[in-house]
Amino acid sequence: MSATEVDPATTNSPEAAMASRARFAALVQRQGAFAIFVLVMVVASFSFDSFLSRGNLTGIAVQASFLAMLALGMTFVIMTGGIDLSVGSVFALGGVLAAWGSQHGTLVAFALPLGVCGLIGLVQGLVIARGGLPPFIVTLAGLLFARGLLLLLTDEGAKTYKVPAGSSFRKLAQSDLLGVPYPVLLVVLFFAIGALVLHRTSYGASVLAIGGQEDAAELMGLPVQRTKVLTYVASALLAGFGGIMIASYTSSGVTILGVGLELEAIAAVVLGGTLLTGGAGTILGSLIGVLLLQVIKNVINQVGSLDSDWQAVVSGSILLGVVTLQRWLTRAERT
């Protein structure tokens, strides 16, 4: 608070105390996941010799890259005050379509899943924005629809399409540049673009305005409907692209993937400090949220005696803790 401030609300002492508490809340909001992430990293690197090995870290990064794609789209959706439950299924559908498409050429392996997933996103977006239906229900329908379509295409999941051995499509996720795998590079690139779009374009400004106060955004003449439609399309496209990456990485269209992945994406976004009510958050925070979840998985896998199911228990507990803290702190801020 600067001395030149004329705003009387911040000059008397109880409000000043509230302001400092609000600043602390904002700090936890923005950097809480990062602090836990660093803590887990430090503890893990002392506990396990192999944790900081190049192979292990690269593994974590590649494993995290698929979820990261979903989380990026989810960040925008949540910032508008919405939710996208369909991304896990759309991701799996994208993978199967990419694997099938790769048998007809690399171009098809990209175009087909992006086309179908984009269409699913478009329909969801239109129904949500134009029809005014709750995103929760609409994308729940999308989840069932995409999963059903996938099962239809694969004889109820029995049929796994393979990417042909010599296909250049495999290179997408299996090559690296100067030792950095392509999926990791793509995530960095996409997140950089995402941050630019959010903070430096009018679309991004609309996203934040809609999530912050939809009525106000409407009254200010912002393109509310168009922004929402675009956001759901982008989310579905990113999920589809994640599917393309996993198809290339595994050289096949694995049908059982992506179940519950939408919830992990939501968890990562919320851990990263994006308000579930919309209007505020950072792109980088979501990336850290994704990495945090992945590192926890990795650590639990390294503890030989622990069942891998502990992953979910630990992730869930951390999520609950962070969200409770956020809520508790922001309540002071917003009264």
Binding site: T10, H199, R200, A205, G221
Partner: protein
């Protein structure tokens, strides 16, 4: 206006920049506007006034493209326009500042000013530096010092309102519509707002100004349009109108009219005991109430009168603990009630029948019985188990006593008439056996028959020894129903009238502030209250 007329042509005489012709708008069969004609000239500040439900907000929303009129048309610069949304209206140059700040609290000040029109750099990306620079310049022009990169939500309401004003200025509008912009402002901010408004006017911008603070109208505005019950009533130069004329045409009362006795169902004055049931002293709510004192004795009905925005509802809400108070004390039967707690107020014996029964009281899908029983559930249950028999008996008693017309106690409240819904709510509060009953517009929106029933019920309750505070916009109801009337003005008690020898027109005069002997709140508007032409002269 005589001696202060300047050589420039009278304001408001140019071709209208924005007008409505015969605009009608209905919501679910209710007429919000009926054939309203309104003209805004360039270079004038045009006051738009009317009581609750007069149609001001609806008219503003039609002008700004939020609503499309059902009939009639909106013309901008002489051309008929069909705005499909607020952005259409903004694109042609109509800006609006709303009563509640309609900005995004989580975004920065600069972001809010330029949202949707951000300056771009050569890559087509938002140029944050130049955006902040331009925002700073705008704020400097408004003589407001604040950090434009700060989140809007961290500013006080007044500062937020100034940001909204900066946003309106930045679009270079030809029309600026201000819907109660001053209701959350400090005196200094009001002065700044007025300075900016006058500057815009001198540049040829047409401004529409809505405010419930009457003093402000004469200080700032050139012409006035009065709406009542969705209809156009009057348009003319403000300087030619007295406060009393303005208020009486707002309320639809002839100044000379003297109310005939017996227009309501209230009986004669009530028996009073000398020991007060409730004493309220020095209630302060920032920007709303300024040291309200009120005493009610058992068996007495005290009326609270005042124009919209004078603080009537706020007063009872503050007493009830539903509005945060900054100072003041409430005692019931000699015992102090802890402030800012509805629970404490309830257990001390204060009940509030709120103005908006749909939003704050009735639960439409529950039965009559369940709606009545809600208030007593905590008391009538033992270890969480409710005694059904006791509730049935209680509900039956009240249905009979209040003559609630329902097919059975099981009928859903939504199926009842407005008057019977109101009685259900009154019954609910009576179940709590209150000492003091605060009634906020108990007869609004209910039909004539039910109205007189509610009125005689209030009478009866007072005769049984209940202390009643009655808020009403209907003067007959106050004059005949209340024993004393406290007149509120801009959040403070202006005068107290004995209703025994009071006529409606005297009350009207008190409402308009003509009889005020106290000075208005120091410097709140900075304008004189009695001599409109003076401030007009300064403004020119």
């Amino acid at each position: 206006m005589t001696s202060t007329t300047t050589t420039t042509p009278a304001r408001g005489t140019g071709d209208p920049v924005l007008e409505t012709v015969g605009v009608t708008k209905t919501f679910g069969g209710v007429h919000a506007l009926r054939g309203v004609d309104f003209q805004l000239a360039p270079g004038e500040i045009h006051a738009l006034v009317g009581e609750n439900g007069a149609g001001k907000s609806t008219l503003i929303k039609v002008l700004t493209g939020v609503y499309a009129p059902d009939a009639g048309e909106v013309r901008y610069a002489g051309e008929t326009r069909h705005f499909r949304g607020p952005s259409d209206a903004q694109d042609v140059g109509i800006s609006t500042i709303y009563q509640e700040v309609n900005l995004v609290p989580l975004l920065s000040v600069a972001r809010n000013i330029f949202l949707g029109r951000e300056p771009r750099n050569r890559f087509g990306l938002i140029d944050v530096r130049s955006m902040n620079q331009q925002a700073r310049e705008l704020m400097r022009e408004l003589t407001i010092e604040l950090d434009v990169s700060k989140e809007l939500g961290r500013l006080g309401l007044g500062a937020q309102q100034m940001v909204a004003l900066a946003r309106a200025m930045s679009v270079e509008s030809r029309v600026v519509i201000m819907d109660e912009p001053t209701s959350s402002l400090e005196a200094k901010e009001v002065t700044t707002l007025f300075t900016v408004a006058r500057r815009l006017r001198d540049r040829g911008v047409g401004l529409v100004f809505v405010s419930h603070r009457l003093d402000e109208l004469w200080e700032l505005c050139d012409r006035v349009t009065i709406l009542r019950d969705g209809r156009w009533v009057h348009t003319g130069p403000l300087a030619e109108m007295s406060r009393l004329e303005l208020v009486s045409s707002m309320l639809g009362r002839d100044v000379e009219e003297v109310a005939s006795e017996g227009a309501t169902e209230f009986g004669e004055s009530h028996r009073r005991s000398e020991e007060p049931a409730m004493v309220v002293s020095g209630i302060e709510v920032r920007n709303r109430l300024h040291g309200i004192d009120l005493t009610v004795r058992p068996g007495e009905v005290v009326g609270l009168a005042g124009l919209l925005g004078s603080g009537r509802s706020e007063t009872v809400k503050a007493i009830y603990g539903a509005m945060h108070t900054d100072a003041g004390e409430v005692t019931v039967s000699g015992k102090k009630v802890r402030a800012n707690s509805v629970r404490r107020a309830l257990s001390a014996g204060i009940a509030l029948l709120s103005e908006d029964r749909k939003a704050e009281g009735i639960i439409p899908d529950l039965s009559v019985r369940d709606n009545i029983a809600l208030a007593v559930l905590p008391r009538m249950s033992r270890a969480g188990v409710v005694s059904e028999g006791k509730i049935d008996a209680l509900v039956e008693t009240f249905m009979r006593r209040l003559q609630i017309k329902a097919s059975s106690p099981q009928q859903k409240v939504r199926e009842l008439s407005g008057g019977n819904q109101q009685k259900v709510l009154i019954a609910r509060w009576l179940c709590t056996e209150p000492t003091v009953f605060l009634l906020d517009e108990p007869t609004r929106g209910i039909d004539v028959g039910a109205k007189s029933e509610v009125q005689s019920l209030i009478d009866e309750l007072a005769q049984q020894g209940l202390a009643v505070v009655l808020i009403s916009s209907e003067m007959d109801e106050l004059v005949e129903g209340a024993d004393r009337i406290v007149v509120l003005h801009d959040g403070s008690a202006q005068s107290e009238l004995d209703s025994r020898n009071l006529s409606s027109s005297e009350l009207l005069r008190a409402l308009a502030g003509d009889r005020s002997t106290d000075s208005p709140r120091g410097g709140q508007t900075g304008g004189p209250t009695d001599s409109p032409t003076d401030s007009k002269g300064e403004a020119s």
